[in-house]
């Protein structure tokens, strides 16, 4: 019998520190598989962010840099300009990219830097203990919104894909989800396409992967998947928001 699955070369054989049911592990694997399939493992440099994914540098078997909070796109810009033949990706969560790092992110997109951003959105600050993030849904209970997020007090959630799709320098924007095998297969295709945009020198590419944080939602992993299907995906519609053909 033949193994139909194997750990990608670009992922070290160490256990993840993530909580049970956290989908960071799936996102890590997809990125590593895409790097392997494109054959760019030797010239890929990843930038890990601050958040639960801060230890991504221990897991990816490529060169990694650990950025200060929110500054991953800026560091990727610097590396890409000094070493233009390298493949650069940033791996950021919603607290990192959509809160403290949204300035760096938007400017990087407007400059059309040829880097790829993998944005894992779980609608909550995971590492610091479940506070409200900019992407927290209306009515969602977190540590800092114990009565649910209200529009009057906390404002509206940021939809990052819709925000960045009309920008000129951006080549590819897609929102995917990691809650079932079908969507995970689609997510891998999206990540591959985003990397190809960079390899072909077209422009900035972003893949937003919706994920669940069962620990901070106070749900079991299976309940968290159900929560994603019922609450999160209707608010954050999946699909391609921009491709070289234009804004969708």
């Amino acid at each position: 019998m033949r193994k139909i699955t194997a750990r990608p070369y670009s992922l070290r054989d160490v256990p993840f520190h993530y909580c049970p049911g956290c989908m960071h592990g799936i996102a890590h694997r997809l990125v590593a598989e895409v790097i392997d399939e494109l054959g760019v493992s030797g010239r890929t440099i990843g930038i890990s962010s601050v958040g639960c994914s801060v230890f991504a540098k221990h897991y990816f078997n490529v060169d990694m840099i650990q950025a200060a909070h929110g500054r991953a796109p800026s560091i990727a810009t610097g590396v890409k300009r000094v070493l233009p033949d390298r493949v650069l990706f940033t791996y950021q969560g919603d607290g990192d990219l959509a809160a403290i790092g949204i300035g760096d992110f938007i400017h990087t997109a407007y400059r059309g830097e040829k880097i790829t951003t993998i944005f894992v959105n779980n609608a909550v600050y995971g590492m610091t203990g479940g506070q409200m993030a900019p992407t927290t849904l209306i009515g969602q209970v977190t540590k800092t919104t114990p009565f649910g997020r209200s529009v009057e007090i906390n404002g509206n959630p940021i939809r990052v894909c819709e925000l960045i799709a009309p920008v000129e320098g951006v080549a590819y924007v897609e929102r995917v989800s990691l809650h079932n095998p079908k969507e995970i297969i689609k997510a891998k295709k999206a990540i591959k396409k985003a990397f190809e945009m960079q390899l072909n020198g077209i422009g900035f590419s972003l893949v937003e992967a919706l994920s669940a944080c069962p620990t901070n939602l106070g749900l079991s992993p299976l309940e968290a998947v159900k929560w994603m299907e019922e609450k999160m995906i209707p608010f954050y519609p999946l699909g391609v928001y921009k491709s070289p053909a234009g804004v969708v």
Binding site: M1, R2, T5, P15, F16, Y18, P20, G21, I184
Partner: protein, 71 residues
């Protein structure tokens, strides 16, 4: 012919594989591993079709699937 194996020391008992399996043969064992989690397991090995959906869903790369002729 297909065979599914679980790397039990890495399993965190999240149960995501149990819903991904189209044959519903994966269940959580009553025994626990070193980390204290109930691990995913299979007893009806002959029902496995080797589709690999559990592998795609597993966040911790616990599962390995083999498919093909017995040699």
């Amino acid at each position: 012919m297909a065979r599914v194996t679980f790397r039990e020391d890495r399993c965190k008992g999240c149960q995501l594989c149990t819903t991904a399996c189209p044959k519903k043969i994966i269940f959580m064992a009553s025994s626990i591993n070193e980390m204290g989690y109930h691990v995913a397991t299979v007893t009806e090995q002959e029902k496995c079709t080797g589709c690999g959906l559990c592998v795609i869903m597993c966040p911790d790369m616990v599962i390995e699937v083999e498919r093909g002729r017995e040699n």
